[in-house]
């Protein structure tokens, strides 16, 4: 009985000390520390390798120190005070960069003996990175204001960036793939942006007037949303495939189009498909945004002698900006992700590396495509979120 109450008491204290998210972080972090596979050593780029645990890269004492530092970081962040949280995120950033640097160091040692040998980061490292990133996202949400968040992000990401920039990780397989593909890499990043953002830009330009038009027509709006909803359910690969047939047909009839790079495959079907996907979030958000402008504001505008278009441009659209921008945010993030798939039909973009890596079963080449895609999506999301929050503040109808 005594034992039971003691146990329950200890559990209570523990729960009071750490909340759910902090426990998830520590759990993942410890899992990362003690997983059997921190890095993988391969005799060459394509061969299978032997997993190495963290203790073969750094000393046992360093591992224990890392665990303690992670715990300290959690405790520091508990106050939700800017300086303490900043310090906490800086500690985690430094820890991650230490792991990366050690892995890079190990890789440098191995590759100097054997040119073909490769060291890849393995799930132990990704667990650690994922845990810390989760913790960063969780904590950053306690601070409103773009400036504070920016400073916190710097503390977290700067140490990692320094390790990469200083070349401490250059001998890791991922970086070797990067240097090998460097010429193509930035070109494909640019392509990725062009396709993903271009499709959304088209969707905004054409979807906006359509959305505004259907706010006045209930029957028509229901039909439009039906069509866009069905489009949304078609898997992206299938849609790319569908588009090949009519496009190839058109180019056959008008061969001159081929000179502009138009064909059944390539960037055009990709942009068309992504454009179709982007239409739903854009149109639905413009529509609901404009519909949800309070009727008394519109009546006041009308009563004061504003014309139809003055009300639309000076009142309705401006007031629904937060909702509209949110739709564009969703469309952009979705489009960045889908663009990776578009490499299948020769559209270019970061998906090129992913599919090449898949073809060669070179996992680090896959990551070279996947990681930047995720980074672009996350940055796009954060940037758009800042815009949404800003316009929300500027158009607040009630007290904030």
């Amino acid at each position: 009985m005594d034992l039971l109450t003691n146990k329950a008491y200890a559990g209570l204290v523990f729960r009071k000390l750490l909340d759910k998210n902090e426990m998830i972080f520590l759990f993942l972090f410890v899992l990362g520390l003690f997983s059997g596979s921190f890095i993988v050593e391969k005799p060459n780029r394509l061969a299978g390798g032997t997993p190495l645990a963290l203790d073969s890269v750094i000393s046992d004492i360093s591992i224990i120190a890392a665990a303690i530092i992670a715990l300290i970081a959690v405790l520091l962040s508990k106050k939700k005070n800017f300086v303490y949280t900043n310090l906490s995120l800086l500690f985690l950033g430094l820890l991650l960069s230490f792991f990366l640097w050690q892995a890079g160091d190990y890789a440098a040692g191995v590759t100097s003996d054997n040119d073909y040998a490769r060291i890849s980061l393995s799930y132990g490292f990704w667990f650690l990175l994922g845990a810390c990133y989760f913790f960063y996202i969780y904590n950053i949400n306690f601070f409103s204001g773009a400036f504070y968040r920016f400073l916190l992000s710097i503390s977290f990401f700067l140490p990692l960036t320094v390790v990469f920039a200083a070349g401490f990780a250059d001998k890791l397989s991922l970086l070797i793939e990067f240097y090998y593909n460097q010429d193509r890499f930035f070109g494909e990043v640019l392509n990725h942006f062009k396709i993903a953002y271009g499709a959304v830009a088209l969707a905004v330009i054409t979807g906006f007037p359509v959305a505004v038009f259907i706010t006045r027509n209930k029957k028509l709006s229901a039909k439009v949303f039906n069509v866009l909803g069905i489009l949304q359910t078609i898997p992206s690969i299938a849609l790319f495939g569908f588009l090949m047939i009519p496009l190839a047909f058109i180019v056959n009839i008008f061969p001159v189009l081929g000179k502009f790079g138009i064909s059944g495959i390539g960037w055009l079907p990709a942009v068309i498909a992504l454009y179709l996907y982007s239409l739903l979030p854009v149109v639905i958000n413009v529509f609901t945004g404009i519909k949800s402008v309070p009727s008394d504001v519109v009546e006041a505008a009308r009563g004061m002698g504003m014309g139809k278009y003055q009300i639309l441009f000076r009142i309705k659209i401006l007031l629904s900006l937060p909702v509209i921008l949110n739709g564009i945010r969703v469309a952009l993030v979705q489009s960045v992700g889908n663009t990776a798939v578009a490499a299948l039909i020769g559209a270019g973009g970061l998906g090129v590396f992913i599919f090449q890596g898949l073809g060669q079963s070179a996992s680090d080449l896959i990551l070279l495509g996947a990681i930047p895609t995720i980074i672009i999506a996350v940055l796009t999301d954060s940037f758009m979120q800042i815009l949404v929050d800003y316009t929300k503040k500027k158009t607040a109808y009630d007290k904030i």
Partner: protein
């Protein structure tokens, strides 16, 4: 100024306004009143063509409103609505200058007009002009709503239950503000409400509506005195006599008073005026200090100043208050006479007998 001639409005089969004919005179505040769904708001909105009549004509100074382009017409008519309808993304200043901007006034003229209006509404420019509507209280926001309606100096202002959503204290403050403003600017105001007290307080003329028809159109006193029409009788309620008191002001019922200065108290005790039950006691500056019961106790008092009843701030009433306010104070303080104080000086007194027995209140 605004004339309705056989105006009707029907939505499909439903007649909202039926054969309405009346004229609102220039410079008057006309209140349209009636229960929900009586067509009062629709009537108001037909003036600036937010609603188009199915039959009949509305003319402003002899010109049919249909001869104007709706937008042009509306820019010449001020408009205030219940939920204020300030534009949340614009600052106070931008909100006020919407109509002047639509009329393409130049910047200096707009700036000047905005300051003028802020001054008129008794709001400090430096404090409010840059604020957004979300940072204002309900009362402040509605003041800005009124300022916005007055921005282009329209002859006509339409108000659609402007104070409906406000708390009673703010509401009463804004009503007084409207009365004060109206004395200054003399606009033709059409004011929709379902609150009979508000109507009686503000109106020069009341149009009572029921089921789309005009039941009566007359001065507030006449509406309150109307005992023949069942609907009006019900709508006004049993306290019609009390309601009439809101139209009568203390300043018209002031009676002369007897007072004595603190310094003269001992002198007063020696030669009392028998006819008075009490006298007001003033300090050397003429400010009201209290009262002294004029009874036999004075004769035996060692220190007469101790007999003065002080702390009577709650009793003081200003000449601008209504008789209803005065009556309310009398009842809550359990007295029959109140000192009337203006600028901290005693200017007279008001008695219960005068309120109850006034000829205007039969």
């Amino acid at each position: 100024m605004i004339k309705f001639e056989n105006v009707s409005k029907a939505y499909e089969e439903n007649n909202v306004v039926k054969n309405l004919s009346f004229e609102i005179k220039k410079g008057e505040l006309c209140v349209l009143i009636g229960p929900s769904g009586c067509g009062k708001s629709t009537t108001l909105k037909m003036i600036n063509r937010l609603v188009e009549p199915t039959e009949g004509a509305i003319t402003i100074e002899g010109k049919n409103v249909r001869d104007f382009k709706p937008e042009i017409l509306r820019r010449r008519i001020g408009y205030v609505i219940q939920n204020i309808g300030l534009f949340p993304h614009l600052s106070v200043k931008e909100n006020i200058s919407v109509v002047p901007k639509l009329l393409k006034w130049d910047k200096d003229k707009i700036d000047k007009r905005v300051s003028e209006l802020m001054h008129l509404m008794g709001m400090q420019e430096s404090l409010f002009l840059k604020k957004h509507p979300s940072e204002l209280s309900g009362g402040q926001a509605q003041r800005i709503g009124v300022a916005r309606a007055l921005a282009a100096d329209p002859d006509i202002v339409l108000m659609d239950e402007p104070f409906g959503a406000l708390d009673p204290i703010t509401k009463s403050g804004l009503q007084n503000e409207i009365l004060r403003l109206q004395r200054k600017v003399q606009k033709t105001i059409v004011f929709v409400t379902h609150d009979i007290d508000e109507a009686v307080k503000l109106a020069d003329r009341i149009a009572v509506m029921n089921e789309g028809k005009l039941v009566a159109y007359d001065k507030p006193e006449a509406i309150l005195n109307n005992k023949e029409n069942e609907f009006i009788k019900k709508f006004v309620g049993f306290d019609r006599a009390l309601k009439k008191l809101t139209r009568l002001y203390v300043e018209d019922f002031i009676k002369p008073y007897k007072s004595v200065k603190t310094a003269d108290l001992s002198e007063f005790a020696k030669r009392r005026i028998e006819s008075e039950i009490f006298v007001w006691v003033l300090d050397d500056n003429g400010e009201l200090k209290g009262w002294l019961n004029n009874d036999d106790s004075i004769d035996f008092a060692e220190n007469i100043e101790n007999l003065v009843v002080t702390g009577i701030e709650n009793l003081q009433i200003s000449p601008g208050c209504s008789l209803r306010d005065a009556l309310s104070v009398m009842m809550s303080e359990n007295v029959v006479t109140l000192p009337v104080v203006d600028n901290r000086k005693l200017i007279g007194e008001i008695r219960l007998a005068d309120i109850v027995g006034n000829e205007k209140n039969i």
